[in-house]
Amino acid sequence: MTQDNKVAALDAEGLTLKSVSLWQVTWRRLFRRRSAMVGLGILGALILIAFAAPLLAPYDPIRSMLDVDGYPREFAKRRAAPCIHIMGDCPDEQPQHIMGLDGNVRDAFSRLLYGTRISLFIGFSTVTFAIVIGTVLGAVSGYFGGWLDNVIMRFMDVLLAFPSLLLAIAIVTVLGPGLTNALLAIGIVSIPSYARVVRSSVLSVREMDYVSATRALGGSNFDILFRRILPNALTPLIVQGTLGIASAILDAAALSFLGLGAQPPLPEWGKMLADERNQVFTAPHLVFYPGFAIMLTVLAFNLLGDGLRDALDPRLAHNT
């Protein structure tokens, strides 16, 4: 009997296990976690909003109603309360603004929608930046060890010794305020955590037998590190990255709130919050919605990150 026949026979008896990849398992586990699904759902909605912002937004986010042709001047009042026709709380001839107008007579709802773009962009770009650099540093450091490891990790320790927001503020102060510089600062600040995570998983993976086997077969360092070790050290990075997006968005909002991040008239949530913080009591809608949007986004990434951590944890494998 040939090998093929044996397998075919087993197949016929329904005894072979269909090979299942890590990702399929993870997905399956993730799907069972309700909180993670909520996170994923919110995130999906946010991404949709980000892409469809021009279609969804009723007005230009940086244009004052005073500049909009044909807009009735008597209703173009700064910080006007929300006007929703269905609720019947404002006259029909008043244009509808479901989140009211902001301090510069702009439509708060449109600004909020466009803000989704900025926040998601901030989250993904800074974390990508930090992951790329952190992975290279951590991998090199963990794989080669010795003095190189010492130098890199001590430098990372130095970065970690500063409170991250403080360090980001220091970097932005040197580079000058602005969204790009804020992104760079947050990226730099979050490098160490990724470098550490990658280093620790590389340290454990590089001792595995299959790595030794590759080395015995004459694989180059590069080959071993990037094709054998790294793919197997990725899981904790994914978790860290998802959670990292949440903190990056928070940090960016904080920088903008302090006037160091996004510059006017960009509709960044942190900036919107800062602009109207004096109006907590006179125009609460202008403070509530951006704050709520930040909270929702951060929550989505945190829920998803937590779910991913559980789903990717091999110790929980028997649960599948």
């Binding site: 005073l66 580079l175 006179t282």
Partner: protein, 597 residues
Amino acid sequence: MEERTVNKKLFNLLSLLVLASMMLAACGGQATEAPATEAPATEAPATEAPTEAPTAAPTPEPTPIPDVPIATFDGTSLSVPAEECNGDYAGLIQSVVATDANTVTFTLCRPDPAFLSKIAFNVYGIYPSEWIEATAGDGIRTSEGLEHPIGTGPYMVSEWKRGESVTLSANPEYWGEAPYAETLVFRWSTESAARMLELQAGTVDAIDNVGPEDFETVKNDATLQLKERPALNVFYIGITNTVAPFDNVKVRQAIAQGIDRQRIVDTFYPPGSEVASHFTPCAIPNGCVGDAWYEFNADAAKALLAEAGYPDGFAMKLYYRDVVRGYLPQVSNVAQDIQAQLKENLNIDAEIVVMESGAFIEASTSGSLTDGIYLLGWGADYPHITNFLDYHFGAANPQFGTQSDTYTDLLVEGAQIGIPTEAESIYVEINNAIREYVPMIPVAHGGSGVAYRADVTNPQASPLGTELFYVSDPGGRDTFVWMQNAEPISLFCADESDGESLRVCEQVVESLYTYEINGSDAIPALAESCTPNEDLTVWTCALRKGVKFHDGSDFDAADVVATFNMGLNIGSPFHVGNTNLWEYFDYLWGLMKKPGG
């Protein structure tokens, strides 16, 4: 063993190298960054002038020649040689002499009809001569001088908790009406909402600069009262005209016509504010004679800009400091509205740059913000047209770049005429010339409000921002708590220019004259009267007798001379203050010096 030490050495060497390269990289990064942030002037032409980019040849910085002191002081007389008045000495005061213990005579180089209004300014408050000698010197001014001013005022400073409050206690020997409240406390908060909350909670008796959105709240609250402060100020958009495109008068006129100022005032200013028809408010004699400012006309503006060679607009910066002032209560919103209007009406892309207050003042007033426009304003120090026009448009002021001689010469002429009606024709010409040349765009005269608890008597909102709290009774309570926008910078009253510091000084030190409560007329204070000679060049002041300083010493003419010696005489060892710029002594009188070399 041998190998290990080699390895260790190698390791040390390498780590050193890495560290060194990191430091180099870090320093290198800064070095390349610095020019972009600190010297936009040199970059501006290349990036922003599409037509011609004059490559400025690096001129070597000329070594500054120190000014030469020219005054002599002997305790009872401070003077510069009379012939210097016609020479290089640009100052106004030729001498301050104590003729006897209770008489001081000011001799001026030129007639000054605004003398009384100026001398009433609190910066010229009189200090005891002994105190000046004890706390000042060639070395560093002691903290006593910076935090505990000694004057003759109704209150004395008892404690300054940095970052928290300044506490003043009543002067038991005050020569005037005794203060109502035993203790006067100054507190501060930059947020108008926070100030409002404190007032509503009853923890403070009065707050300065009620937020525009809170005017109605205060009016509708029976436990509060609102006092509106007349708009004796101006908010303007400054343009430094040294570099293209701003060196083209058509560009400046285009911006002037392309901004809807009415909309800014309607949208962002509290009641009582008005669109500026002229730089000087109309309440000041001759302030708004001549043609009113350009009407908003987007099409005409666009045409002018095209004519100047920028049909598609250009990119520039819009500078401001995030500081609330009566002339500009909603800084960031106004800046964003101007940004939006420039884009909408003229297709000018303005990048907003928020600067630290001190750095902004320094950069704007020295004329180094050449790659854009800036938002600044002016509140009257004393109610005279020279306080507005001469300061801003005098030939020596670099803040708008090059001043035009179509008005600079006339300003000198107008300042010497005492009777407003006689000077009117000159000021018509000046105002029209400024309108034509557009060194800046006057936008608004901002009204502001002070809110008091309803039981406070004699609520004040001085048009000059010089409220004197000893005349107000805080509902019978012992302590009057006042909350303003910011903490005083320091209390060296003769060398301060910040309104928040000067308001504390106001309660402590007194000048020869003062401004009437809730008004701007100069009335006698430490002097019983100051009378001029025929041509307004000699002013003789009869001093009040029996006045005592807080430290118990008697007030006499020598104190007046010593105070002016400290402020004006750059050769004096006591000419050491807080900033050492002596801005108001320099600007209203002129320091006693002439250029060296």
